[in-house]
């Protein structure tokens, strides 16, 4: 398996797609809705961007298709792979470090301004 760090940093669209698939398998429209929910409607993913990113994620092995489900044959479901989960975890750690560093810098700056 490839090193998850090789895929970092992730673009916002990729991060949101991986994050939306972290909970359960979703179809394309479900991913779009989940991304909008995660960002409180501030980040809306269009189908073009969504499927372009899904194509790349499938090609790199971060996401895989799990086929269709009864009821709607047009919709295919997507699932986060083990590698995708590792990449998401590594990206979360990276972002966590960035946030921690940012908070530390902000705290150091506040007394100077006061």
């Amino acid at each position: 398996m490839r090193n998850p760090v090789e895929f970092l940093p992730l673009s916002p669209a990729t991060l949101h797609i991986l994050l939306s698939l972290a909970g359960e398998d979703l179809h394309g429209y479900g991913i779009m809705q989940e991304v909008a929910r995660q960002s409180d409607g501030r980040y809306k993913l269009g189908p073009g961007t969504l499927y372009d990113n899904l194509q790349k994620l499938i090609d790199r092995g971060l996401v895989r298709e799990v086929g269709q489900r009864s009821g709607d044959e047009r919709r295919r479901y997507y699932r986060l792979s083990t590698l995708g989960l590792s990449v998401l975890s590594a990206e979360t750690d990276r972002l966590d470090g960035v946030v921690r560093e940012a908070k530390l810098r902000m705290q150091q700056r506040q007394p100077k301004e006061a």
């Binding site: 394309g28 429209y29 189908p47 073009g48 961007t49 194509q55 709607d72």
Partner: protein, 313 residues
Amino acid sequence: MLRSCYRTILAVHPPRFRQRFAGEMLGIFDEAHSKFAAARLVLDGIASLARQWILRSEFWEQPIAEVETLRSSGAPAFYTFDSFQPRNSALMQGAVLSLAIFCAVCFIMKYGVNHAVYMPFASIVAEGSGHESVTRAKHTALSQESATPNPGQNQRRAEALNQEQNKIAAKLHRLLMQAAAAPPAEQGLPRTEVRGLPAPMRNVVPDAAVPVPSPGTQTSTTIFISKQILESYVGIYVLDSPDRETISISMTAGELALETGGKQECSLTVISENRFAVCNGSDLWIEFLLPGSGMAQQIIIHDAGREIRAHRR
């Protein structure tokens, strides 16, 4: 209407993307609850179309494994035998071919038309000898020949003419340098003969027309050159040579002199009314071409059958 538009946009996506995602994208479009949302999806589709064709060339092709799977399942499948994306070698060959065609077109444009090249022919013929008409007839024939479209021949002739003009200009320079280096001739002494002819008189003339002995014949004949005619020769002329050098004809105390580049000067010795030897003892001679009246507009410098023209500036 918007749905048809969106379907069309999806239909022109790269085959692999279209087969994998077009159905789902159309399903998402059907979920749009307003025309504004549908219009946004159409715009998104256009952006996707550009992105897929411009930035995602690696995803244009349908993987062979997928095609084989589809075929074995009985679904109709199509694929091209050759790669849709041109090979690098094919691109290189195309570039070389395009360059070659471009060069060929430029060559044809440059040499495909018949350029009129001026080809002077020496006409140094003793007057009254009867050869003049023969030379002129030959000149006319050659001129007609040169009028036929033969680009290569015309180019060679032009190059030969340029070389000859350069030679004459260089010779003129050399003569003037020699004249400048030589000690000045004493006043009253006889001049050096031109082409073995008896010592010619300088073209010194008084205000009125006076007889001037000419070296044109073994026995000197007298010709008359008025000061007005000599003055009409004075001026600056630009040589037809590629370097476009200038020569200056001046008159001092009734005597014509030739100067190039403002450095060297050489006297002109009269041969006939409009012909003068350049620097005594040389093979060069100048012919002034006078229009009906007024100043000379053109001169021809002759040198052993070759000639170069100069026009008044």
